[in-house]
């Protein structure tokens, strides 16, 4: 019974969202507002249950973790944002979080987004047992990365053999990349659409297995 009502409600809201394809209407607007309220309310509930309660409230109530008052008070300072006279105090928790997050993020960004990428681009062009398309692929990948980087280097005019030709090859590589990404995204969205149609025709109407 619970599942059946759930499927009906889900199907009605699915159709409500698809009704937007015809034109914006009150049913769509209701569903749109509901999802904002539910997801924000869900976020609040989960944040309290998995962060505030076990990490702050319970240890404080147990009475031997008074140091947690510091993050608690810092967190509460966010609320001063709603009191214009002392709203500047909300900068303290933001500052604490910004500073520490930037500091923690710096070496991690360097590692994950720069060094690992450079490491990944330094592959042998040829090794015994490699198929011809792998060798070609490695050449394309290494030269393509360099060329695309040249395209994004705006401190020098894109003229001459190195910068001119390099940036031209770069834009070709980038276009292939964008095309592939676009195709991949389209397929992802189509598979979501198929999922919803399966839900409507299978779970709800039982037209398909």
């Amino acid at each position: 019974m619970y599942e059946t009502i759930g499927i009906w409600v889900g199907a009605i809201f699915t159709l409500a969202i698809y009704s937007f394809l015809y034109k914006e209407n009150s049913i769509y607007r209701l569903a749109e507002h509901l999802v904002v309220g539910i997801s924000a309310g869900y976020g609040m509930a989960i944040t309290y249950q998995i962060t505030i309660k076990p990490r702050l409230v319970d240890p404080l109530l147990s009475g031997d973790h008074w140091i947690l008052l510091i993050p608690g008070i810092l967190g509460l300072l966010y609320i001063t944002r709603f009191i214009p006279r002392i709203s500047w105090m909300s900068r303290y928790p933001i500052g604490f979080y910004m500073g520490t997050a930037m500091g923690v993020g710096f070496p991690l960004t360097m590692k994950a987004r720069v060094l690992r990428q450079l490491e990944g681009a330094m592959v042998p062009l040829y090794q015994s047992g490699m198929a011809w398309y792998e060798v070609t692929g490695n050449v394309v990948m290494i030269l393509g990365t360099l060329a695309a980087l040249i395209y994004f280097f705006f401190s020098k005019p894109h003229k001459g053999l190195f910068f001119g030709t390099g940036s031209k090859i770069g834009i070709w590589v980038i276009m292939v990349g964008f095309g592939a990404t676009f195709g991949f995204t389209v397929m992802g969205r189509i598979s979501l659409l198929i999922g919803r149609i399966q839900y409507l025709l299978g779970d709800w109407l039982h037209v398909i297995e």
């Binding site: 507002h33 539910i38 869900y42 500047w88 303290y92 933001i94 720069v114 070609t136 292939v176 979501l192």
Partner: protein
């Protein structure tokens, strides 16, 4: 107090956290442990700002009877109803509940279908965007079109009807030229992030201070 202290907090916090990474001493490990404990707590309170703003906007709409004000109840009621329901039936990490409840019902049968449908709605718009983007007007646009078509056809069973070469070429495009473009973009983004990190830590970038209290 209003600007200098927050900027000092950012600088000290940032430098301390960079240093603790490079100096794996007992003290730096303790600092990191405290940070790991405290940061989620402080960040969790930031949600109050979002919820507060949302409540303010919608209650204002209701009070002023602004256009479509009735829908604001559809935001406010579940916004405060969900935490109350979760308190009655404590929520589990799995995104639902151990046993069926109204909280679980609203999440599984209202939020999940609506969100999934909203994303799938993009299939229609992306198709119309593709129609505009995929016109072979120039050599570069043709290249974009070819790459997208090969990748798309390579991922569906009908692609195999053209022969094994089509899915294999699609995979090759994803694995090599696509990776080259992505890697260059990611390196650019990485350097940008590093520069922004340093600008924030050293107080060059101060937009985050906002206008609160001037």
């Amino acid at each position: 107090m209003k600007r200098t202290v927050p900027l000092m907090i950012v600088m000290v916090g940032g430098i301390l956290m960079i240093l603790q990474y490079f100096i794996p001493h007992q003290i730096s490990q303790t600092v990191l442990a405290y940070y790991t404990d405290w940061a989620p707590i402080i960040l969790a309170f930031a949600l109050v700002l979002g919820v507060g703003s949302l409540t303010r906007i919608h209650s204002h709409k209701i009070r002023r009877k602004a256009k479509n004000w009735q829908y604001s109840y559809a935001v406010l009621i579940p916004l405060f109803g969900m935490p109350i329901l979760a308190h009655i039936w404590p929520a589990s990490l799995s995104g639902g509940m151990d046993s069926p409840s109204i909280f679980h019902f609203l999440f599984m049968h209202v939020q999940v279908p609506i969100q999934a449908t909203m994303f799938s709605l993009l299939a229609f718009y992306i198709a119309s965007a593709a129609f505009r983007a995929f016109r072979a007007k120039s050599a570069l646009a043709t290249l974009l079109l070819l790459a997208a078509v090969v990748v798309m056809l390579g991922q569906v069973p009908i692609g195999e009807l053209f022969g094994r070469w089509l899915p294999e070429t699609g995979l090759w495009i994803l694995r090599y030229p696509n990776l080259a473009a992505k890697r260059a973009i990611m390196l650019g983004v990485g350097f940008g992030m590093l520069a922004t990190n340093l600008k924030i830590i050293f107080g060059v970038e101060r937009n985050w201070l906002g206008g609160a209290g001037k």
